[in-house]
Amino acid sequence: MDKMPKWADVVLTPLISLFLAFAISGLVILAIGESPWEALKTMVTGALGSSYGWGFTLYYATNFIFTGLAVAVAYHAAMFNIGGEGQAGLGGLGVAMVCLFIPWPHWSLALIAAMIGSALFGAAWAYIPAILQAKRGSHIVITTIMFNFIAAALLNWALVNWLRPIGSMDPASANFPASTHLPKITDMFAGFGIEWGKHTPANITFFVALLACLAVWLLIWRTRLGYEIRAFGKSESAARYAGISPTRITVIAMLISGGLAGMMAINNVMGEGERLILNNVEGAGFIGIAVALMGRNHPIGVLLAALLFGFLYQGGGELALWTSIPRELIIVIQALVILFTGALDNMVRMPLEAFFLSRRRRGTAERS
């Protein structure tokens, strides 16, 4: 028998971990002489109190959905893809090339092409670590870390030596043509005559991200490929017994993962920046790790966790604006969430298991 009910494992453990992470964050705020309660109020008002706040929260959440799903898909195949940062950066390069070098008649076509372009570039960047893991046994965690740095250097080079418009000193590409500008959510509301989230970057990509959640769910739990990915992730020897090729699954799972990370670029590069700048990913690739861990690698969990981190990001920005708490507080919270949900999960789970076990024992004792 399982040691504790499934609901407890799926819902209770992450909630307690989250609570611990926030409790310690509160202590950190206290330690720097601020009030956690005030901080929370500022964050909630700033991120959720207005459609303006929501516009940013959803924008950030969109990034994190993509990078969170990327980590989650790889995780199902028992791989820890820390390379989301580099893959998303390369995705940006793909988006820039699609938008700059091809004249698009309409944004919808540009969006589809940019989705393909970003996914291809992100996937390509994940391909090398994947094939090295599959064929040569190079540890994917280390190679993806290395590839983050290589990606940063590559992007730096591309922006300085290639995409930078002549005469500009800024390591950034030219602005994308207007025909590639994606509709903002505020524009969509305006279409219905409702004023919502003016001057916020949330755009149509949010709905693409929701579709991506659905697609990943279908992939993992409904398709033959998903079955193979999960089986391989649980046991490589069993997968081989069942005729599932470890090389194929490693590569495919990483391609999907890298593609998802790359697609983040349609949100930040195409939807918000409308040009490619240096360091455009801003750590979203790493937040994907926290999001996937907190969301237990399930698309619904990833969606909820991404919204939470979107809130934290927007709220953190507001904190820096209205209080003397730097926005780096978010990085601390992010670190604590990763620590408690990903590395210290046994610390939470062990007492819980003991609790449910003793309850069950008592239950059976009463029945007999």
């Binding site: 540890h139 290395m146 290589i150 300085v160 790493f286 730097p326 507080l329 601390v332 990763i338 590395a343």
Partner: protein, 321 residues
């Protein structure tokens, strides 16, 4: 390129490799004991911050050094609790530690100094000064050996010499002592140590603590030796280069010396020649900066020698029947 330039580049390589070497040896202890550590970066950052802060507040670099070690050790303890006591995922714990350091240093720095995460510039007794070895000036004019002794070997801070001494010391500890034997065993097959009546937990904590101390030295050197104070994200990926060097070194102390020297040299060359021209080809500095990572991937791919990590690395130890 004349002789003096070469000496200058080598001298700068030595300075730049020192934090890499200390961090690489730190990783070596931890990983040889079977605890993967991708949190070297965070520990160095935390150490750099604590060292610079205390040095700035007290004006005493030695107190700064102690604080740096303490800061790094605190994060090591977190890593130990997560990956040894609670048998959590060592990689995830490492990632968390990197972020924790990255956030906390700015938060605390802003609180203490209000300079947006920086510490004030350190000077005088708040910094490690350069040590002039005996007869450095007298020997400078001797051809070849003179400049090597006076400009390359002499004139570094104490931590540079400590770092270099750590290499033979680590070798001796690993291969000549009881502690080293047990440490290597626990990274290869912890069950062998456990059944021999030695505590796996204690050994691994010891290794993780040594790792913390060395990362502390590395970070303190960055903030109080190489630079004069702490700035946000000042480790700038050095922890990961150290990790790369460790793989390059195949987890051996002398290998670590060689690998970190190579990476230090690359950085020194990139610093001196932002666009290195070799014949008609111009090599951009970005490429030089990325070279350690590219080389490591090539090594990992096994095209140039195979890097085999300690067998039990990354695996929490669970007693089995």
């Amino acid at each position: 390129m004349d002789f003096n330039t070469i000496i200058q580049i080598l001298d700068s390589s030595v300075r730049l490799m020192t934090p890499l070497l200390l961090a690489c040896l730190a990783g070596l202890y931890s990983e040889r004991a079977g605890v993967f550590d991708i949190g070297l970066e965070g520990k160095m950052l935390m150490a750099a911050f604590s060292a610079a802060t205390v040095a700035a507040l007290t004006g005493n670099v030695w107190l700064g050094l102690a604080a740096g070690i303490a800061g790094s050790l605190a994060l090591s303890l977190v890593h130990g609790v997560a990956s040894i006591t609670f048998r959590g995922n060592q990689l995830i714990s490492g990632v968390a530690i990197n972020f924790l350091a990255s956030g906390l240093t700015v938060l605390l720095g802003q609180k203490i100094f209000g300079l947006g995460g920086r510490t004030p510039n350190l000077s005088g007794g708040a910094r490690f000064s350069e040590i002039r070895l005996p007869f450095a000036d007298q020997l400078r004019d001797v051809p070849v050996i003179g400049p090597i002794y006076a400009d390359l070997i002499s004139g570094h801070t104490i931590l540079v010499y400590v770092a270099f001494l750590c290499v033979p010391a680590t070798w001796w500890l690993l291969y000549r002592t009881r502690f080293g034997l047990r440490l290597r065993a626990v990274g290869e097959n912890p069950a062998s140590v456990d059944t021999a009546g030695v505590s796996v937990t204690r050994l691994r904590y010891a290794a993780v603590a040594i790792c913390g101390v060395l990362c502390g030295l590395a970070g303190a050197y960055l903030a109080t030796g190489l630079s004069a104070g702490f700035v946000k994200e000042m480790t700038a990926g050095r922890g990961f280069i150290a990790l790369a060097a460790l793989i390059f070194a195949k987890w051996t102390p002398w290998g670590a010396l060689f690998a970190t020297f190579l990476f230090g040299l690359l950085e020194a060359i990139a610093n001196r020649y932002p666009n290195l021209e070799i014949g008609p080809v111009t090599i951009p500095s970005m490429f030089m900066n990325a070279l350690p990572y590219i080389l490591t991937v090539i090594i990992l791919a096994g095209f140039v020698g195979r890097a085999i990590p300690p067998r039990a690395g990354g695996e929490p130890y669970v007693k089995e029947r």
